[in-house]
């Protein structure tokens, strides 16, 4: 399917939460009422000026928005092609874009009278952001995290505990992000009346993919003002890494109708998409139903979800937000992948050339920019969403690069 949709009328999801054939509300009956309640409250609050003022006030004074746009001059000159620019989400409070959404959802929770929040986390960034807003708004917080990820992201686990959150290790399945999501869903089914589930990515049942996208869209909205100020126009391409896809959709969404801006999502290629050991459902998966929505999935021929592989815990997920599936099918966004070693190389390059240490997730987007920049002219501009900083990845990088810590 190539651009069959008239993008000027792009308006998704529909009232049932569908993005074409994707999205939806694939959940057990027990959760239906809570999701309808959330949808109704969100529809009301997003049109309530005082609520949106509160949200933007916290983004400004608590998160530190707007985040700057930075021209990576040395990196660009070294590569000898397109100019590489960064949207510095790594400078946000808590170190990643994740906090934009958690501030929004915590405010929703507060307006809905829920005192307990739960979250799932892979790399720990969403868990830290959730624990942070729970502390900020005085709420109880429980974070589910795969025991494998707890090992990979020990410093974030400690941060969450310092912030007063309970971190629950998940031992089922592959012990990573998807299993943490399963366990958070089970908690929510059980405690649905007093609990608000802060989903960290643009996946899950409707209205989550829409809510998380909307709260993260502040990133792309800022860019649309900042880029003309910096370079007199919009960038030629916007590049972001895609696990569930919340940082990518945060920059893509405001640009969907600007057809001159290429949108490029970079999935985790792991050991290489051809090896099967990766986390790139858009590159090699097929549509199916997981975690409340229909989307591209990594699955076997019997419809069982298969284990994913990525050096970055935050991209190690077998599904992807349903809107990305739709953007792929209609041809509005391109999806590519970067392997573990390419991401690692990009991590080191960016650290040494620009003095910016990206999260390993983010390093996938940087790797792709480094790949395509040399083929482009120096008048062309690639904007990379620098979604998070790499402090949390020290031990993974040290191990992978054979460096002592």
């Amino acid at each position: 399917m190539q651009m069959q949709e008239n993008l000027q009328n792009y308006n998704f999801p529909d009232h049932k939460g569908h993005f074409g054939p994707y999205g939806g509300v694939f959940v057990p009956e027990t959760l239906i009422h809570a999701l309808e309640d959330l949808r109704d409250n969100y529809e009301k609050l997003k049109n309530t000026p005082s609520f949106m003022e509160e949200f933007h006030d916290d983004l400004k004074n608590f998160v530190g928005r707007p985040s700057p746009v930075y021209y990576a001059k040395r990196l660009s000159e070294m590569l000898g092609g397109a100019q590489i620019w960064f949207k510095r989400e790594d400078l946000n409070h808590t170190g990643a874009h994740k906090v934009n959404n958690t501030v929004g959802q915590a405010l929703l929770a507060r307006h809905m009278g829920k005192k307990r929040i739960i979250a799932e986390t892979g790399a720990g960034q969403h868990g830290v952001a959730s624990a942070t807003v729970a502390a900020r708004y005085g709420m109880e917080c429980v974070v589910y995290m795969g025991s494998e990820d707890i090992k990979r992201q020990a410093s974030n686990v400690y941060r969450m505990r310092l912030l007063g959150a309970e971190v629950v290790p998940v031992e089922s399945g592959s012990k990573t992000l998807k299993d943490a999501l399963n366990e958070a869903m089970r908690d929510w089914v059980t405690n649905v009346e007093n609990t608000f589930y802060i989903i960290g990515t643009v996946a899950g049942p409707h209205p989550y993919p829409m809510i998380v996208r909307d709260f993260n869209s502040v990133v792309g909205e800022e860019l649309k003002t900042q880029m003309p100020q910096m370079i007199g126009r919009q960038p030629d391409a916007v590049i972001a890494c895609v696990g569930g896809g919340s940082n990518a959709l945060g920059v893509f969404y405001p640009y969907i109708k600007d057809e001159g801006v290429r949108l490029i999502g970079v999935e985790a290629g792991g050991s290489g998409v051809e090896t099967g050991k990766h986390a790139a459902p858009l590159a090699s998966g097929t549509p199916g139903v997981l975690h409340g929505n229909r989307t591209y999935l990594m699955q076997d021929s019997n419809g069982q979800i298969i284990e994913t592989h990525s050096i970055s815990a935050g991209l190690d997920y077998p599904g992807v937000g349903p809107e990305h599936s739709w953007l792929k099918d209609i041809g509005r966004a391109e999806y590519v992948s970067a392997n573990d070693d390419e991401a690692l190389e990009a991590f080191h390059k960016l650290t040494r050339i620009e003095g910016i240490m990206p999260a390993l997730e983010t390093a996938h987007a940087v790797a792709h920019a480094m790949k395509i920049a040399p083929e482009m002219g120096s008048d062309q501009v690639l904007l990379v969403n620098l979604s998070g900083r790499g402090d949390k990845d020290m031990s993974t990088v040290a191990t992978a690069s054979n460096m002592g810590l």
Binding site: K16, G24, V25, F26, V27, P28, E29, T30, L31, I32, H33, A34, S172, G173, K178, D179, N182, M185, R186, V189, T190, N191, V192, E193, P287, G288, V289, L290, H291, G292, R294, L297, Q299, S301, N302, G303, Q304, I305
Partner: protein, 266 residues
């Protein structure tokens, strides 16, 4: 007429309530499941709910998660579950079989292909945990065309207006999830179940089964007095998990007999 409807009518004539055990197909292996299905019938079960194992069962507690993992470790697939039903039907043409599972394995096989094969092997009802009425259109159409019952869940959180919407789609029976939680969790609030079943009965013409949280003869009997059917899953799966190859059939039979006896006690 559907086997499920027949069964409930027969029970009703005899003033009895249905006992519906749930087991996961392929736990511990498909050969044993086939033997257990006959054992369930022999010891007093009326309808069998057969779980289709899935890698990410979000509505299930640890007991049924482990059963799914065991079944998947033995390479159980939806196709092999359908073959299992075919084998069971060669010996038992009466006992209704309801397949219960998650959407993805069904979509991977293809909704129409799944339903065609289910009809061919003698499946009587299908319950897809993550297909609420909103998302069940294609499956319902196919099931209806093939005269297979669409079983839906109702929950403590389901609003009354929605009960009526579900009632319009439900055939066979509806399954009331008696507590907020995953399978095998918590304690039953019988007073609450009683009120809710009464409310459901105002809207639903098909029988009402109650499940989640039924642990023993006492809770089974109490629930039977409030509803048309008792569904017992996690506690039975525990019995399977704790048995070895030698004891599994006798353990399952004696457990089901004890529940049957409790339900039938006035």
């Amino acid at each position: 007429m559907s086997r499920i409807k027949n069964k409930f009518e027969e029970l009703s004539r005899n003033n009895r309530k249905a006992l519906i055990p749930f087991i996961t197909a392929g736990d511990p292996n498909l050969e044993t499941t086939l033997i257990l299905m006959s054992a369930l019938v022999k010891s007093g079960s009326d309808i069998i709910e057969l779980g289709i194992p899935f890698s990410d069962p979000i509505a299930d507690g640890p007991t049924i998660q482990r059963a799914s993992e065991r079944a998947l470790a033995g390479k159980t697939s939806l196709s092999s579950v359908l073959d299992l039903v075919q084998k069971f039907r060669e010996k038992d043409k009466e006992t209704p079989i309801v397949l219960m599972g998650y959407a993805n394995p069904i979509e991977a096989l293809g909704v129409d292909a799944f339903v065609a094969r289910a009809a061919e092997v003698g499946v009587d009802g299908v319950l897809v945990v993550d297909y609420p009425p909103e998302e069940s259109g294609a499956l319902n159409t196919a099931l209806k065309k093939n005269q297979i019952d669409s079983i839906f869940l109702l929950a403590p959180t389901t609003l009354e207006a929605r009960i009526a919407d579900v009632a319009a789609l439900a055939t066979g029976y509806v399954y009331y999830v008696s507590l907020k939680g995953v399978t095998g969790a918590g304690h039953l609030d019988l007073e609450d179940v009683s009120k809710r079943v009464e409310q459901i009965k105002k809207h639903v013409e098909v029988p009402v089964g109650v499940g989640f949280g039924i642990r023993d003869g006492e809770t089974a009997r109490a629930v039977a007095q409030l509803s048309d059917a008792v569904v017992i899953g996690s506690r039975l799966v525990e019995e399977i998990e704790q048995s070895d190859a030698k004891t599994i059939v006798t353990n399952v039979e004696s457990f089901i007999r004890s529940i049957r006896k409790a339900i039938d006690t006035e």
